[in-house]
Amino acid sequence: MEIRSHDILLVGGGGAGLRAAIAAAEVNPKLSVAVVSKVYPMRSHTVSAEGGAAGVAKPDDSLDEHAYDTISGGDWMCDQDAVEAFVKEAPLELLQLERWGCPWNREPDGHIAVRAFGGMTNKRTWFAADKTGFHMLHTLFQTTLKYQPITRYDEYFVTKLLVDDGRVQGVVAIEIMSGKIQAITAKAVILCTGGCGRVFPFTTNANIKNGDGMALAQRAGAPLKDMEFVQYHPTGLPFTGILITEAARAEGGYMLNKDGYRYLQDYDLGKPQPTPVLRSMELGPRDRLSQAFVKEDQKGRTIPTEYGPVVHLDLRHLGEKLINAKLPFVRELCVKYQNIDPVTELIPVRPVVHYMMGGVSTDINGATPMAGLYAAGEVACVSINGANRLGSNSLPECLVFGARAGHAAAEFAASQKAPNGSVWTQATNEVLRLEQQYLHKTSGRERIATLREEMQKTIEAGAGIYREEASLKQARQKIQELQERFENVGLDDHGRTFNTELISALELGFMLDVAQSIIECALYRAESRGAHQRTDFPKRDDQKFLAHSLVRRSSDGSLSVDYLPVKITHWPPGERKYGEGSHKASKQTKVS
């Protein structure tokens, strides 16, 4: 078997991966940096982010306010040291991206323009029309093209992390085009594989978001953190799950129930005003808005459709001119995928799984508890998102912690010897496993799609917007059963060349692991906080649960959960308040 070696290996070519690659290459141009990605980097899901990226930019704003919004938005589950580093570095990273050519929207005088976003006290979200993620990813990708030391392995699928001596020393990957399985060793590996929305049936996430990195890390021995916190976005198009960006509400869109009533006023989110008010009504945080939807549904005030109940997002009063100027992609998506023109019609929307707050547990530099293993981006949980991520914090997170992980990994790699020979045996075993379990096996009876659908239904029923012990236990049982049936999965495709069915099977395996972890963490957290709402424990419990869940997998596949205290620096836990005047709170609650 062929072995390739690099100093630093990135798994994932999205926003976080590319930023980390550039950071590593810039620390030391002599390092050999490799980016392994299962899709061409510019296809990564960062490309679909619409609304924008938060970073304090204007004199009337402050880092403390950004930090407070993030922390209170996260229901005090954020590690505050991480948040402080984050808000401080986010503007610099966004500026760096500007220097690389990102076409940010501008003020008439040529300075960066910022917009309001849900849960944010001030306007601080940088945007490039409503294709922010697209522009960021392409800017990053095009910028990496100029760095010679960066080698790309495009369309390589990582199946396993190589671990020796408790240190991660590389990966095994399939070159999808040829089917060749090979080991790529490295002194440090950074996981940037993105989220896991596809574990759920209805999601804004792309087909490639299967939680691969989370499962890879967990199987290698690293713990996952806060997996119970799954964000639902309140406005997804029914059927496709395509996201209508929060910017639509930031520009002044209304949420209406079946009676045309702005129902959010019934859920402690302030009083309706004709124009948007920060942290109020439609600009409340995502968890609250999604929960309000479920309550409306229970009251019978939603509109039933073929694809489940919906409410309406009303943009009509904004006018064609504003919609075309500020929300062109929203209009394009509605017209192209829902056959609806938001200028004249109401947009049907429903909550949709959008983002994973949890992930591979890392410190403030992206380092996991395992030597040589780093993580950044949605796959990681540094803990700046806590129990609920604020819109537009995730793109800058990819940049800030991508860069930090890149730097840290480069430093670590400098002090390491090249990987030793024992990983070779592991790699050969992995090749055998892949061949015996999938490629050469003809006895499998279970279809991938069937298992996947069952898994998705199970997790939605058991660990959706609202959870309770009984439903979670049932889901746990069912996923266990699916894990067993998965052993018996059979492929139609036994070819080597571009075998996407093999990839789907491996992804399903990863997703089952992730689903298990989500359920396990949700079961043990007997409180309600942010995106984790237990009907049997409706209150937040800081006494017991102001702590991160850590879920580990032992070699026999069983999971165990323990807790790690949340780091509090300046902002003691308080009550999350939304509605008028709530943004003043940020200035009062800081203690030194």
């Binding site: 080698t151 790309r152 089917g179 080597r496």
Partner: protein, 144 residues
């Protein structure tokens, strides 16, 4: 990344899949309406050459005196010349129209930072065209 030549092998070997490449047929431009229009547009250049050739002969005839010029205009009246000139004229019109319509693409005009719609940029071309044509016709038809 693997070099393309390495992969594009005649036979399939494991891990070096052979790629299927289709050669473009010589008649590629017949297969699709848009391509055909394109080729016709390009072939309009033959009509341009034809017209210039004709003009050179006309000049030569003119230079040699009224009789020679008369014989030339008689030739132009033959059905075959009429047919050829009709075809040439159609092609020239195709050229003129596509040219005027495509020009704004190559030279976008901006007023106050906003791009002027293409038909507005094309419009002056047409105005100029009509004016020049009218002037030429007037010159030629003036006293006869």
């Amino acid at each position: 990344m693997t070099e393309m030549s390495e992969l594009n092998q005649a036979a399939h070997t494991e891990f070096h899949p052979r790629w299927y490449r289709k050669r473009l047929s010589t008649w590629w431009w017949l297969g699709e309406w848009h391509y055909l229009v394109f080729i016709l547009r390009e072939l309009s250049s033959l009509s341009v050459a034809w017209f210039v050739g004709l003009t050179l002969f006309q000049l030569r005839a003119f230079m040699r005196g009224p009789d020679s010029y008369g014989r030339f205009t008689d030739t132009l009246q033959s059905p075959i010349m009429i047919a050829l000139n009709l075809i040439a004229f159609c092609f020239i019109m195709l050229h003129a129209i596509t040219w005027f319509n495509l020009a704004p693409r190559a030279m976008p005009v901006r007023v106050g930072g906003k791009r002027v719609p293409e038909f507005l940029v094309a419009a002056p071309n047409y105005v100029l065209w009509i004016a020049v044509s009218a002037f030429v016709a007037w010159l030629l038809l003036r006293t006869s």
